[in-house]
Amino acid sequence: MAYTREKPSPIESRDQLRARIPGWGVDLDPQDRPSVPKLRSEPDGNGAHWDFPERQLEHRPRERSVEHAFLTPVFGTTCPARGVSGLMRKAAYRRYSEGRAAHWLLLLAADRVDAWESHVRSFLTLRPDNPITETGVLSEFSHHGIASRIGKRRADVGHQLLDPLIVAGPWVVACGVAYSAIRSIAGRRR
């Protein structure tokens, strides 16, 4: 009862819980849990046989947070920054710390630009982007798309209606802009 000092009575006793739940209470002691205490490493070491790791070679300039003193000894090499999105990303890393909203907003904007640059680039290859296969939307027909949603009281169904808008919307706008541009150029030539 919240308004008196007594703790509410447990619904089930220790014995009832032990009988019902496999392993109930095997980790009862809070001091005997794997990450306790927080600031202690494994007593028998963790496999590191260096004080400071050997440094990975930087084959091309690698962007880094201004909060780091230097490039970390190990880093990922996937997808180097390129194009306009790359310039935006480099600017975000060069100019703003992680404490600045500008840093993250610039990176998010660069992600959108990167997606568009990549779509355009894909049309110059033998394997252009395919919004049907790449969104996996065909699984709607093979994996109970309607039955999974109708009559299930799901909170996310309303939100999911926005997904096609987000995916297809920019394509529709881009096609509209391209169509208008072509019409206007054609009109001027006449």
Binding site: I11, G23, L28, S35, R40, L57, S65, H159
Partner: protein, 382 residues
């Protein structure tokens, strides 16, 4: 090699990529035998995580066989069957020396606020992930572990993140015997957190979600009491009513950045990316826990701010605890629990797909079709 490749929000495909190379003397190259799609991969898939570059291969839950080792690797050999924790860590920096493996300072040049994670954007270091045939594993002497002979592949892959994170979430709740624990979100991490809460002596475990098939799993797999929040005007009031108007002792947010339940919050965060994530689940956790209680956050959030009810947390005297799970610290205990039959991680697996069909798998998982709780990806199945 064949690999899953991100093409922009909601778009992925399988492409031919170069097999990764040894870039550092302590690297290993692992041939992936089994990977999983994590709920937090969906944040990348939906374009929520800053600096997710087109061309990236996702996948931080994977196991495999060592194909090649760098010259300074001592603890692994070619042919070893290994499980790889989702965090990349050096083992020797200030943070690793104190067991904070998920906060390693030597592996992520792109940020100091977060460590490095396989296949999880450049914000997390710019490493490719394991939803592919091969993957580069840095600090091979520190991160990976040989899979015990008695352990199934499907159990092992779920120990690389989901189970370890769920267990860690319960641990950060500082549960004592008889505690009432409420878990928001009945995805894999929520299910494992609920199950782990019992091991730590919880007296009552409650799981909240809106998907009936996940709540059913919470009842059967995690022995939990469940509530579908869509059936209540206000789930926080309901929580108070069923806990003697005190609130739960411990609340675990296992939903994270894309929590449903509030249209406005969802649109401003998941859709418009104006927040680091929808704080619906976190705010419900803050409101549902009793004064002086503990909120453990295991749901993933982006680096941008979120409209979290910090004033309520202050006025209620709450303890808020959170981190990415230092997976390797949990393993010895979790191995025991799996061996003793207290935990059977693979019981939540619902879908197994070949790598070539990963695009459909992402859509099924993202749209919650077909009763999907946990999809696994088999790179070698054609």
């Amino acid at each position: 090699m064949r690999a899953m490749v991100y093409r922009g929000p909601y778009k992925i495909r399988v492409e031919e990529k170069d097999v990764p190379r040894i870039e550092h003397p302590n690297d290993a190259i692992v041939r992936v035998t089994l990977a999983a799609i994590c709920g937090s991969d969906l944040h990348l898939y939906h374009g929520m995580m800053p600096d997710t570059r087109v061309g990236t291969t996702f996948g931080h839950e994977f196991i495999g066989v060592v194909e090649e080792v760098g010259p300074s690797v001592r603890n692994l050999e070619r042919g070893d069957r290994v499980m790889v924790p989702f965090n990349i860590f050096c083992g020797s920096c200030w943070f690793c020396a104190r067991g904070l493996y998920s906060n390693c300072h030597n592996v992520n040049p792109n940020a100091t606020a977060v460590g490095a994670i396989y296949g999880y954007s450049h914000t997390c270091g710019g490493y490719d992930g394991g939803q592919s045939e091969f993957v580069r594993v840095p600090f091979a002497d520190v991160g990976p572990s040989r899979i015990p002979d008695w352990m199934d592949d499907e159990d092992a892959v779920l120990l690389t993140d989901a189970l370890a994170t769920g267990y860690f979430g319960a641990q950060l709740g500082d549960i004592v015997e008889g505690d009432v624990v409420v878990v928001f979100g009945a995805g894999p991490v929520g299910l494992y957190a609920a199950k782990s809460a019992w091991l730590m002596g919880a007296g009552r475990v409650i799981v909240i979600d809106h998907l009936e098939y996940r709540l059913e799993k919470a009842r059967t797999f995690a022995h939990a009491e469940t509530y579908n929040f869509t059936e209540y005007d206000d789930i926080v009031v309901h929580m108070k009513r069923i806990t003697d108007h005190l609130g739960a002792d411990v609340a675990i947010d296992a939903a994270g950045a894309e929590a449903d339940g509030n249209f406005l919050q969802h649109v401003t965060s998941a859709k418009l990316k104006l927040q680091g994530g929808s704080p619906v689940a976190l705010n419900w956790a803050i409101d549902s826990v009793r004064k002086g209680g503990t909120v453990s956050v295991m749901g993933a959030y982006g680096p941008m701010f979120s409209a979290v009810k910090f004033g309520d947390a202050l006025n209620k005297g709450l303890t808020l605890r959170m981190n990415q799970c230092p997976v390797k610290r949990q393993w010895p205990r979790l191995f025991e629990h799996v061996r003793n039959g207290y935990l059977k991680p693979s019981d939540i697996v619902t879908h197994r797909v070949p790598l070539e069909h990963i695009g459909e798998a992402y859509h099924i998982f993202s749209a919650k079709l077909d009763g999907c709780i946990k999809p696994l990806v088999v790179p070698s199945a054609g």
